[in-house]
Symmetry: C2
Subunit: 492 residues, 2 copies
C-alpha cells in the first residue's frame, strides 16, 4: 500500500512543540471501551496506523467507532475481525462490518450526513472520548486534513482528546484544496455565507484547543480507496437517458439559463454518469459540481475544461485518481474545493444552488418510494449517507438505477419497497436503462403508470400491472394489496 | 360566518387605481380548466367568494387547485361537491376532498411545505394560471395578506394573473404581524439573513407586477377555521411525559443554556401540548416558538408572558382565537411574526435555531419509522405538510401520539408502518402516554426494545415482542418478518 509516495517525510509537516510517537504507544493509551471519532469519508482520509495497532494488540476491546463516512480495511475489516467494535456510526462499506452489523454483533446507527456533525458535536448520539484523524501537517493547535474533511471539525470539537496521524504518502500541498468553515452553534448559528460552489469561506486548517492533543504518529500507509468497475451497457443506457432528460430540462427552465449545478452519488454508476457528461453540450453555461464526493469521472471533466468547479467533502478517488490529483495539485486547487460535510451536504446550500442531484438506489416502488440501504428490507448494505440530503433538497432529485438485478432475475421496480429511505415527496424523476419516469406533479396512480411504462423492465411490466389491478380493489390514494406487497422480495 | 366584524369596510383598504367587481364576474373570467393557486394555510387566509361563486356556477369545471396548506369548506367541500376539482395540491382536511382523493376522482400530490414555494414558482409540478388570494388591503402592485402567508408570495410570482379578495371582516392592522421575505431564485439565492425567531427581515406586503391584477372583490365571509377538542386524559399524559423529557434535556444540553426554540404540529394534540407548556419552568431562559402554525394554546402562553416570540406562517386559530388576536392586534404584533412558509419551515433556519420539534403521527413502528399520512398505508388523511421539514431539521425531533386508537382496539406502535413519511434517521424521540422512547444513537434492535418498553400500550407489548422474536429468525440489521409485518393493519 506504500508503493508510491507523493512527497517525502519532511519537518515542514510538524510544527510547534508537537512530538511524534509510535502508533502502538498511542493505541495503548486508548481505553478499551473508548468512543473514537475518526476522520475519513469516501474511503479516504481515515486514520490507519492507530486502528491497525489497536487491531493487532491482544487487548479485549469494545470500542465505539464514529467515522465520517466510509473508511478502509484498517477499521472496518481489521478491527471488526478483531472483535474490537461494539458500536459503529454512521456508514460502512466492507463485507466484514456489514456481516457483523447484520448479525447484530455490532450495534449500528446511521445518520443523514448533513446532520451528523451537529448530532455528534451537540451530544445527540454518543459522547466522544477521542478523535483520531489523518492529516498532512500539524501545529500546536491546528492540522491540515488529508483527502477528506467530512465531519472531522465537529468531531474534534466534540472529543475530549485528539490523536493525529501524519500521512507522509500525501502532499502537504493538499491544504490548497481545503476550505474549512465552521458554523456557530444553535441557536446563534449564522447563515452559511456561501454564494457560489467555488467560493472559499474558511481556512485550510482544522483548529483545536492545544490541550486536547495527546499524540501524533506518522505513517506512509495509503487508503483502501474505491475501485470502480468499467461502465456496463446498462450504465451507458442510463447515462444516455439522463443526458436526454437533462437536455430538455436545462433548455426549458430559466433557473439553468446561466449555470448548472450537479451532484452525483458515490459508486460505480455515479462515476460512470459523471464520466458520460463529457459528451453533453451545456452550451455556454457555467457547469459546477456541488456534491459530497469527487470521483475519478470528475477529474476527466475538469481536465477537459467541461467543469468549472468541483466542490465536495471527499476526494473519493481510486489510487490512480489520487496519484493524478496529487501530482498536479496546484492546478486542481484552482477549481476543486473540499469542505466539511455539513457544508457540502447542507440543505440550505444545496437548495440555494438549485442542484440537480443524481443518486442511485437498491429499488424503487411504483409510487416513487426509494430503498437505498436494506436488502429485503432487513439487511443493511452501507447506510443512508448523503442520499437523503440531496434527494430532499435538490431542485431536481433524480434516482438512477438499472431496472433489474442478478442478470434480470430480480426487478428493481417493485410494488412496495420493504424499507423506505426516501419518500414520494423527495423524488422527482426515476431513470433506468429503459427510460425516464418524470413523477413531478403526478398523483400516485399516475406515478405508477409512469414507472411501469418507462422504468420497469418489459419482462416485469405485466406483473406490475397485475399488482396494481389487485391493489385497486382496496382503493385509496396509494392503492396497495398489503398481503402481496412484498411477494417480490422473497425472490431476492 | 359573518356575525362579527373586527373592522368595517373602509376605503383605506383599496388604494391606487384598483376597482372592485363582484365575485361572480371574476369567477366567470376563470377558464374551466384553469390552474388556480390560492392563498390559505392552517384553514385561514384562503379566498372564499370566488371559489364559492365557481362552485355555485353551473359550469363544467375541471380545475387544478394548488393551496398553501389546508383551506376551508368553500374550496375543499363546495368545489369538491360540485365536481369542479380535477387535481389538487398539497394538503386538505375535509371529508369530501379526502373521499374524492381516496376514490381516485381527484389527482392529489403532496409536498414538503418548505419545498412547495420553489416547486411551484420554478415550474416543477404545474404551471399556474391564476393566483386567487385573500387580503386585507391592496394597491396597484401590492397587497397585505390576511391570517396566513404560506407560499402565497411564490404563487403570485408563478401565476400569469392575480385575483384578490379583500376580507372586510378582518382588520387591516394585521399587516403589523407580517414579515414577507422573498429569497432570490437559485442559483443566485442569498443566505436567508434571519438570526432570531423574532427578527423581521421583510415587509408587510406581497408585491406583484401591476399588469397581473385582473380583478378585486370584497367579502365579509370568515374562515372555516380549526376547532380543537378539549385535551383528553391521553393528551395530558403525553404532555406530562414531554415536559419531563424537556426538563432533562434543557438542563443537560448547553445549546439550551440561554434560550429554547419550540415547534408544535397542527392539531388538537399539538394545541394541547402548547397549552401544557404553561406549567413548565424554563428558568430564566428566553422561550420562542419557531413553527408553522400558531394555535390557540400559544396565545395563552403569550398572554401569560411565558413565550417571548411566536413565529409561524399561519394564525391557525379557532374563531374565538381569531377574535382574541384581532381585538388586540398591536399588542400581539410586538411578539408575533407571520412569515412565508418557505421561511417558517426552512431547513436552514430550523437547524440554525436548534428547534425542538414536536409532531404527531398516525403510527410509529418498532424501529422508529413514522406514518403520518396514510391509514392502512393506502388511504390519505391530510398530507405530509410541514412534518418532514421539522422532523428532518429540528435538533431534537419528537413524535408524540397516543399508544392506541379506537379506544384501545388498535395499537399505534406497530411492527412495520405500511407507509413511511419519516425515516429512522429523522426521529430522535417518541412519546406516548406510556412514556418516552429516546431512540438517539441506538441500533434498530435497541430502538425496538425502547419502543415496546416505553411507548407501546401494555396490552400490546407481548404481541410486539413475539413479532420481534419471529423477525429475528431472518436476521439482518432491521429484523422483520415480511409475511406478517402488516398483520396488524388488517385490524384497522
Amino acid at each position: 500500500m506504500t508503493d508510491e509516495n507523493h512527497s517525502q517525510p519532511s519537518e515542514n509537516r510538524i510544527h510547534g512543540s508537537v512530538t511524534v510517537q509510535d502508533a502502538e504507544t498511542l493505541a495503548a493509551s486508548i481505553p478499551a471501551d473508548a468512543t473514537l471519532a475518526t476522520s475519513g469519508f469516501g474511503s479516504v482520509g481515515y486514520p490507519k496506523a492507530v486502528p491497525l495497532a489497536l487491531a493487532e494488540s491482544d487487548r479485549d476491546l469494545s470500542l465505539t467507532i464514529v467515522s465520517g463516512g466510509s473508511v478502509g480495511e484498517e477499521i472496518d475489516t481489521r478491527l471488526v475481525e478483531a472483535g474490537a467494535i461494539e458500536r459503529r456510526y454512521p456508514y460502512q462499506v466492507t463485507p466484514e462490518a456489514r456481516a457483523a452489523i447484520n448479525e447484530g454483533q455490532i450495534a449500528f446507527h446511521d445518520s443523514h450526513i448533513s446532520r451528523l456533525s451537529d448530532e455528534i458535536e451537540l451530544g445527540q448520539h454518543v459522547d466522544v472520548d477521542i478523535a483520531v484523524v489523518e492529516a498532512v501537517a500539524i501545529g500546536d493547535d491546528w492540522f491540515v486534513p488529508s483527502l477528506s474533511i467530512g465531519p472531522t471539525p465537529a468531531y474534534v470539537a466534540a472529543a475530549d482528546r485528539l490523536i493525529v496521524e501524519i500521512n507522509d504518502s500525501l502532499p502537504r500541498e493538499l491544504e490548497a484544496i481545503h476550505d474549512v468553515y465552521r458554523p456557530g452553534r444553535p441557536p446563534n448559528r449564522e447563515p452559511i455565507p456561501l454564494t457560489h460552489p467555488g467560493e472559499r469561506i474558511g481556512t485550510s486548517r482544522i483548529q483545536f484547543p492545544s490541550e486536547k492533543l495527546v499524540g501524533v504518529t506518522r505513517t506512509e500507509r495509503r487508503d483502501t480507496s474505491y475501485t470502480f468497475r468499467e461502465p456496463t451497457a446498462a450504465d451507458r443506457a442510463i447515462a444516455a437517458n439522463l443526458l436526454e432528460f437533462l437536455a430538455d430540462e436545462i433548455h426549458d427552465n430559466p433557473v439553468f439559463a446561466e449555470s448548472v449545478q450537479l451532484q452525483f452519488g458515490v459508486g460505480s454508476l455515479g462515476n460512470a454518469l459523471m464520466g458520460a457528461l463529457g459528451d453533453f453540450d451545456f452550451g455556454d453555461r457555467e457547469v459546477n459540481y456541488y456534491g459530497e464526493v469527487i470521483q475519478d469521472g470528475l477529474l476527466d471533466l475538469l481536465d477537459d475544461g467541461l467543469l468549472d468547479v468541483a466542490s465536495a467533502t471527499s476526494l473519493a478517488l481510486s489510487q490512480d485518481g489520487q496519484d493524478r490529483l496529487c501530482e498536479d495539485i496546484d492546478r486542481y486547487a484552482e477549481n476543486v474545493v473540499l469542505r466539511p460535510s455539513d457544508i457540502s451536504n447542507n440543505p440550505a446550500v444545496v437548495n440555494r444552488f438549485g442542484v440537480v442531484g443524481v443518486n442511485s438506489a437498491l429499488e424503487v416502488d411504483l409510487y416513487g418510494h426509494v430503498n437505498s440501504t436494506h436488502l429485503g428490507g432487513t439487511h443493511l448494505m452501507n447506510g443512508i449517507g448523503g442520499s437523503g440530503d440531496f434527494n430532499r433538497n435538490a431542485l431536481i432529485p433524480i434516482v438512477a438505477l438499472s431496472s433489474t438485478a442478478k442478470e434480470g432475475a430480480i426487478s428493481r421496480i417493485v410494488p412496495m419497497v420493504p424499507h423506505v429511505d426516501h419518500t414520494e415527496q423527495d423524488i422527482s424523476v426515476v431513470i433506468t436503462e429503459q427510460g425516464v419516469a418524470d413523477l413531478r406533479g403526478l398523483s400516485p396512480r399516475e406515478r405508477a403508470e409512469e414507472m411501469v411504462e418507462h422504468c420497469a423492465h418489459p419482462e416485469y411490466r405485466s406483473d406490475l400491472r397485475r399488482y396494481l389491478k389487485r391493489a385497486e380493489r382496496g382503493g385509496g390514494h396509494i392503492p396497495h394489496d398489503l398481503s402481496r406487497a412484498f411477494d417480490w422480495q422473497s425472490e431476492g
